[in-house]
């Protein structure tokens, strides 16, 4: 357990906003691979509402069992070891929701996503938010916030990336950003002034260029 667990106030944390935004990006009847799928909430929603054929990847034993109890196809795999078993372009969508910042090797995983999925959807907390920068500037300490709720010394969020970082990262991988959605004050907008400084979360639809 992580120290100083704060109540997750943002609706994004409570799945609804984030999941709705992801679900809206997905065409019904497609195959979706959800990396770090947790207990399968998103995949169940996609199955029930969009007739999606889903598969989840998760390492936490309790969450894996919850997925099975929900009738969701599941793989116990460590994402950082890649997606070796998944054939090229075997899924229409590969989803990495709120997990990118926790991976040991994000570059490897995102490359694998571009290989396995026709399209990939990645969401992550934006460390570039102005409040974060201000706190950092004023206090000189690593900020703790709703999007980054754990102190630096005990956190699963080992990478602190910004929306600008992510754009450059995808360009470097040779990927193409098809769509950007910014979660600002808990609602998703696709076009926003000064997004890198105002968005709490970023949601990107990308593909191999």
């Amino acid at each position: 357990m992580y120290a100083q667990q704060q109540p997750n106030k943002t609706p994004f944390h409570e799945f609804q906003v984030g999941f709705n935004i992801i679900a809206d990006l997905i065409t019904p009847g497609t195959r979706v691979l959800d990396l770090g799928c947790g207990s399968g909430t998103l995949l169940q929603k996609l199955r029930d509402e969009k007739d999606v054929e889903g598969c989840g990847v998760e390492l936490d034993q309790e969450k894996v069992i919850r997925c099975i109890e929900r009738g969701i196809r599941i793989m116990t795999l460590d994402l950082d070891e890649g997606l070796g078993g998944f054939p090229d372009l075997s899924y229409e969508y590969v989803v990495l929701s709120r997990t990118l910042q926790q991976l040991m090797n994000p570059e490897r995983v995102v490359r694998e996503m571009l290989r396995v999925g026709s399209k990939s959807i990645i969401t992550f907390p934006n460390f570039g938010h102005w409040k974060m920068a201000l706190r950092y500037l004023i206090t000189g300490r690593t900020p703790v916030s709703e999007t980054h709720p754990h102190p630096w010394y005990n956190t699963p969020d080992i990478h602190r990336l910004t929306i600008s970082d992510f754009r450059i990262f995808i360009r470097k991988l040779g990927g193409k950003i098809e769509k950007e959605i910014f979660i600002i004050k808990s609602s998703g907008v696709s076009d926003a002034f000064w997004a890198n400084r105002r968005a709490e979360w970023g949601c990107f639809l990308i593909s191999a260029a």
Binding site: I68, E69, R70, G71, I74, T76
Partner: protein, 395 residues
Amino acid sequence: MTKGAIQEYADSDGLYGRVTTQYADFDGITLESGYFLGPLTVAFETYGTLSPNRDNAVLILHALSGDAHAAGIDQHGRHGWWDAMIGPGKGIDTDRYFVICSNCLGGCKGTTGPRSTNPETGKPYGRSFPRITIGDMVNVQAMLVKHLGIECLHSVVGGSMGGMQALEWAVSHPSAIRSAIVIAATARLSPQGIAFNWVGRNAIYSDPVNRETEGENQAKGPGRGLAVARMIGHITYLSQHTMEGKFGRKLALTDMNGNRYSLGENGKEGVEFEVESYLEHQGNTFMQRFDEDSYIVITKAIDLFDLEAIYGDLRKAFANVSARLMILSFSSDWLYPTEMSLPIVRALQAEKKDVSFVELDLPYGHDSFLVNAGMPYLTRIIRGFLNGVRPATTE
């Protein structure tokens, strides 16, 4: 508890109640080797009720030393070997499913095996029993299932050798199952596994009595080869963690039943560790309940199991699989470790089959699927998976 209530998990409690082993007789079967083995008897038990559509049958596949008595209480008051999993409201719910378990071909618990009479000689086959394969065992199970009037099984569920059989079902009888749960198994036995089996068989071959009575099935003499084989097996089924926790370096003066234990005339050592006492007990019990020739025939079948060799590679083997598959491994299993489950998973993925893979982090070694401490996890997984498999009519 009331009938129909869902049990979170259960220890073995014989909840299903009294059961009797039944027998089905067949003319015989042509083995994969071409040998015709007949007549053929299959010992089996069933629990629950077959639905009018005959679509709720689940076949349980036992491991090396198992038998048809998987659940409930038999006439000797014995609980079934997977009673903790099978019963009303349990992981494999007998209020919902028609559960079948049969003794495997080559066994010694009622199905035709080395103890059965060879019609050509009028004597038991003994060591002249033909070589059989996992595929033969599955073909016999398929005959039984058909005999029971079932065209398509809701699922086949097995661990260890039973897991090999579950895989074989998916590969060679693809249209006869809707799903399979493969627990702590492999598509090809490792050289390490073959080596342990070979040592076990060697212990049996070393019994002077049996060398002289080849082809017959005499009452067991002073040979203890089977007991030694079983002890070796038990070492491989447990993890270091289990052994440390269960026995440590404690000294034992009593056996598993609480009786004072002595090595008797063979006893040369004055001091005994608990782990020795445990193995001694397991070996002795096995001597009374198992047949050494069955042990030879079945371990040989396990050794020979190699889907890669038969089909060229695993992907080809799985090309026709249509069942939903659940592959389960245990992190502490060093006999059939996760690395041996992964090639199965990878090949099924490559063929775009509906496969789930779960590595359970349980410390009890290969036997994790049989020990009570593993039941809470396995119960939820098996119940959840079976629940997600839909009968053909609603697909």
